[in-house]
Point group: C5
Chain length 354, copies 5
């Protein structure tokens, strides 16, 4: 639960635009990668100093600067200086716990995304914040640590597969965002399997443990839902293409990612409703169990309590109890008792209690 | 459950516009049918190669190309070449699990629909994806396998019944979409019957099994609802007639299908609320049963436990128990016990426990 | 339940504009009534052939043609020919199960309404479909069977009461629609009484039967709600007066009917919430009953089980049980048992179990 | 409950604009008060005939005509004649059960409001309908009976306090509406106290009676909510100042009343959620009680049933039962029984059942 | 609870614009602080009379007048005179229980905010009302009592840190509002911890007390939610920058606070859903407990009741009971009883009741 509010209050009281890394440090080293390419060329190199990216700024090629690791804020600040980013934007980049959002600064667009992955240890869905700045001929991405999500895009750039090498910075931004959104499906698939598993468990053995897991999944969904609805807003903005930085030919691709986001939302909402339905099943399973337990008790008690009473009667020590003297008293009383028990059993049988 | 997310992640990591068939293969052969007609003529022929459709493209007649079977993606690509379809569109055609949607590409409109039918084996509602491209004088449809839903339209074309032969490609598109939407009513009727059946069962025998079926139906509804709300959006777009490809005279027909979609939504929402109401009935039936069981137990126990106590008292072996010696002790104690039991029974009777 | 989907699928597969009566036949004969009037004159006559209405079409008076009985579709078609109605509209007229709707065809407005009445036999709210076509100087109405709802309007026309004789066809349409909407209040009043009755029953005797009735009423509400929300849309359209057929002076009257529709919606929604509240009462009544039953059982069992144990102890046959020999054993043990019982009773008293 | 639908159907079948008083008669006499004032003068007089208000109509002063008592419809009609009110408006004035609404007739604005007060006898919130017509230099108000709500406004007029004497008819209308809305806070305060009381009761003694009161309050809220949401719409219209009758300087005052209405809505919605939460508390209190009852039963039964069995065993009359002969049999069996009881008690203690 | 309606009705019946302090008096003294600064200078002084602020009004520097303590209304009125504030605005300032709101008066903007802090004594979230008037070169703030929330802003002004000294009155307003919004995160963090604590308690010991705390937290959330949604509206207005008083460069900062408000809403909504989920856990824990209790009872009763019956049978005093005479009767009956008990135990074991 703490992650819902954890990093939010860490800068309370500081002036706005204060660039302080706010969140868990997920990597030791900061890795700066510079890629620049056009239809013919492709070059990838690792930088030690972010200032080395300056010269590439004004080249006609598309430039992609990727910074993995956000705790050394001076690097972020320098990267911001290269293309003149607003201090508030830099603050957002280093403050974890942002919602996915998009802001149009005129000559660049700033996008915050959440990359999801299944936490290996925790079993919970974890998110990493990815910020992306799209300029006219460059893209700058900021990650919490280097992860594999952008690898396929780099490969496609390297191999010149598809239209990516010839389609400008906005298409690159699209490709990166698409890669992030695609991860949601992987995470959803994992959650879908978990839900199936829990459902089977709930029916087989409606223990309190199953309920706990159900609640945890509901919480995951809550968490995810918050994320995807914001994502949808981001993509809706990009798809509408209100900024001149996104060309008409690229807009149709953003429309495609937008459709994916809608599919993600659909799935999350479906999962939520399925989990609600499972709670109903759980509760009524519990009721069912209680009914069964009570039936057993009632059958046994209803049959034997009257019999015990009869036995009690003839266990009384009154001097004058004619039945006790009677020769066939004992067999007769057995007959009475067996008849009563049989009648009870038939009654319960008819009521379908067995 | 798996169908909610199944095919979605199958292309993760591939570049956009990669045309890979993503979903279950439902037919072995691909069947390509070409129909072209105007007020006077009607011709239907089966093609072995989709390229053979090329010559018909520029004729003044209306041309309808139907491709049943989507796993041979090269056929889809060639069909796309004939009228110059966007790669993303082709990708959508071969990727199952799309939401119903409509996209206006200017000189053609792309529509994805879901055709519903009751799955024979599974008993679940199944859906097949149908894509439709409407150009100025041609319609191209893509189906997962050849199914009967378009048959009545072909027949009307052949027989020249109604205004279909003289009304252009947009009217043909309308007729095809109308045929798809009409299937929803058939499926809903089947679901309506299932709901009625379950309701009767719930009341007669509120077993856990009934609850399971209830939940399955709720899930069907969830599934259906997702589908029909998207469908509504599609039809709303077509009915507004924002594209010049849809003439004013045809718009009124799209308005009619739109009304049908609203009726479908109404019915689905009504079913959903009915299923919710049935859950309430189920849960209170369970409560009722528990109450009944407890009443039986309580009546029996409350009557006999005190009596057994009395019998127990006179079963004690104290030396000096005057009652035991008394001549009328035994009949007297029977009188006492019968009176107590009667009092109890009258009490329960008054409380309406019987 | 079947009525939610009954007639909808009856024309699946037929070409649009096919005019086939789809629904229950509620009358044997078709009755065609023609009324024409202006400020001075009023004439009402029954026609045997709908063609006889033709000559009145171009007169300066207002003409109202009412057709009661929809199964003879050739009559509907001919009526459509008189003023040139669109085939889809004629199809809607003879297809029961339409939602209330309004369509503006330029030179006429087409309105579908539902007239409600309490079904005598079924006890359910039943609806009849009423279609209305408003032209510049004529109104055509189509009913499933002749019913009394339009009678007051005819009387007002005949008597020349109010402004109805001098106010044109749009005012006549208003008067007819107003008459239909007024019926809703009557039906709601009936439902309100039913709800009150059930509520009293629920409290007095929370049987399963009461729950069944509750659910039936909820379903009625569902049904009604669907109807009134559509009605609201229809009236909202008319009240906005977007068509030139509705004059400004008449719009204020449509606004008035619109207000009535809002009141109907308010009432329906209030009823829905009341029924929900009653379900809560029912469920907690059940809980309460269970609590009471369990209290009785627990009090009796808790008092007598220990006593029975004591009696059992002194019913043992051990040779050496000093108490049994003791002169005051028996009275003493009675004292013990009475004290224990009293203690228990005081305990339960304090816990407010009585 | 009846009040939700009571008066609505009372005019079914009558022509629109029929001015018949529809509702309970709350006063015997009709009291007509005429106030006219400007910055310098103030005059208040009671009229016997409403026609006497005519001469004041064209004076430069602001005229306020208040009519308390609506059952003598001829007075309402005459008042309508003075400023030429629409018949539908007059109908609304005398028909109780209207929703708060506003209508702009161009040269006058018609407002219907609900004045709330706590019903002395019924304990329910009661409402009185107040209609207000705002013209360029006059205000006409219609009340069901004379009530105190307008008294402070009259006093302020008389004393010339505030800007009321110099601010025109629209400011007077504002002052009157403000007085009506202020009453809502008083009523809400009363309801808030009731809710607090019920909450305390629910916790102390979760009886069925408390639930009944809870449901009654929920219904009050339903009733109130309907009223305040309509009120909000009315004030929103006035605050937007679309009519030229409301000057810009007065709009800011209407904005203020609008804010009050929002506060009322906030409070009503908060109360509704609180009542929902209280139902949860109630239901879980019931569960808790059942648990407690069952624990008592289980503890007693579980301890004594095995002991009674043991006693029963040694009450058997077998000839050869060696234990019975044994010298220490009786003390030994007591030891056994006490140990068993202690073990049970320890077990329950550990399970925290005490 | 009272705080939901407390102060609202305190001015019922008074003319609008009456400036009466309505709410709890939180400070004895009124503290008036005047700060004026530009890029070069900074001066802070405490005023004894608010009139002393007059001369600073027309200086080119930015002026910030802070008034802490609202019960001496004459001070508020004089402050209002300095810049010509509307009486309704002054009324709002001194009336506690306002919703956060913003009003644009053309040459100044009026903002009402709620500052949250954890109440030390009550443990509840408490709110203080802060009003802020933004003019072209001055800001006036009104607080219920002097609190620390504005301290960091004063410090930044004094030290000239950040762009605050050079950025005009709108930036100062931003800085103050930002400080207030930041407090929400602190309060949310506290609530998050409380929720975690309750959740742990609910699982460990689902007592009625835990439920009470749960309900209290839900109420806090209700309270908070009302506050933050209004806050969102306020910030949305400021961020849209419709007033010329807020320059374009400052708007981006307001956008930032707006984002914070959205985060606050997200968190509040998440908390609300978590609390709902916890209620489900609580209720099913209760059910679970009942099931367990009933199982214990049923096992004990089902095993021993039949055994007691058997013992009872052989406790009967019939003269002719052959078994009693039998040499091995007693051991045999023990064998029967042990077998029965074992069979029961195995049965329950198989049913997984242990």
């Amino acid at each position: 639960m703490p992650r819902f509010v954890k990093d939010v209050s860490c800068k309370t009281g500081l002036p706005p635009g204060t660039i302080i890394h706010c969140g868990e440090k997920k990597t030791e080293e900061v890795k700066i990668t510079l890629i620049h390419y056009d239809g013919d060329r492709f070059e990838e190199k690792e930088l030690t100093r972010v200032e080395d990216a300056f010269p590439f700024k004004d080249r006609p090629t598309v430039t992609w600067l990727n910074i993995a690791g956000l705790h050394r804020t001076e690097i972020i600040e320098k990267a911001g200086d290269i293309v003149g980013l607003h201090p508030l934007l830099l603050e957002d980049i280093v403050t974890m716990g942002q919602r996915p959002k998009v802001e149009d600064f005129g000559d660049y667009i700033f996008v915050v995304l959440k990359m999801l992955h299944d936490g290996e240890e925790s079993g919970e869905v974890e998110e990493e914040q990815i910020s992306l700045v799209l300029g006219s001929s460059h893209v700058i991405t900021f990650q919490e640590r280097e992860n594999v999500v952008f690898r396929p895009v780099v490969d496609r750039l390297k191999n010149g597969k598809g239209r990516i090498r010839t389609s400008g910075a906005d298409y690159l931004a699209y490709a990166l965002i698409d890669a992030v959104v695609d991860r949601y499906f992987v995470v959803l698939e994992g959650l879908g399997e978990k839900i199936e598993l829990i459902e089977d468990n709930l029916v087989a053995d409606p223990s309190r443990n199953a309920l706990r897991k159900l609640q945890e999944l509901k919480r995951e969904m809550l968490f995810l839902r918050r994320s995807v609805w914001s994502l949808r807003e981001v993509l809706s903005f990009l798809e509408r293409g209100e900024s001149s930085l996104i060309r008409k030919t690229t807009r149709i691709y953003f429309k495609d990612v937008y459709d994916h986001a809608i599919q993600v939302i659909d799935t999350v909402e479906t999962f939520r409703e399925m989990l609600s339905g499972m709670l109903d099943i759980y509760l009524s399973s519990m009721s069912n169990r209680l009914n069964e337990v009570m039936k057993v008790l009632t059958i046994i008690a209803t049959i034997f309590i009257p019999l015990t009473f009869i036995a009690g009667v003839y266990g009384m020590n009154f001097k004058f109890m004619p039945e006790l003297e009677w020769r066939w008293g004992y067999p007769f009383i057995w007959t009475v008792m067996v008849s009563m028990a049989s009648a009870m059993i038939i009654y319960f049988w008819k009521k379908k209690w067995f």
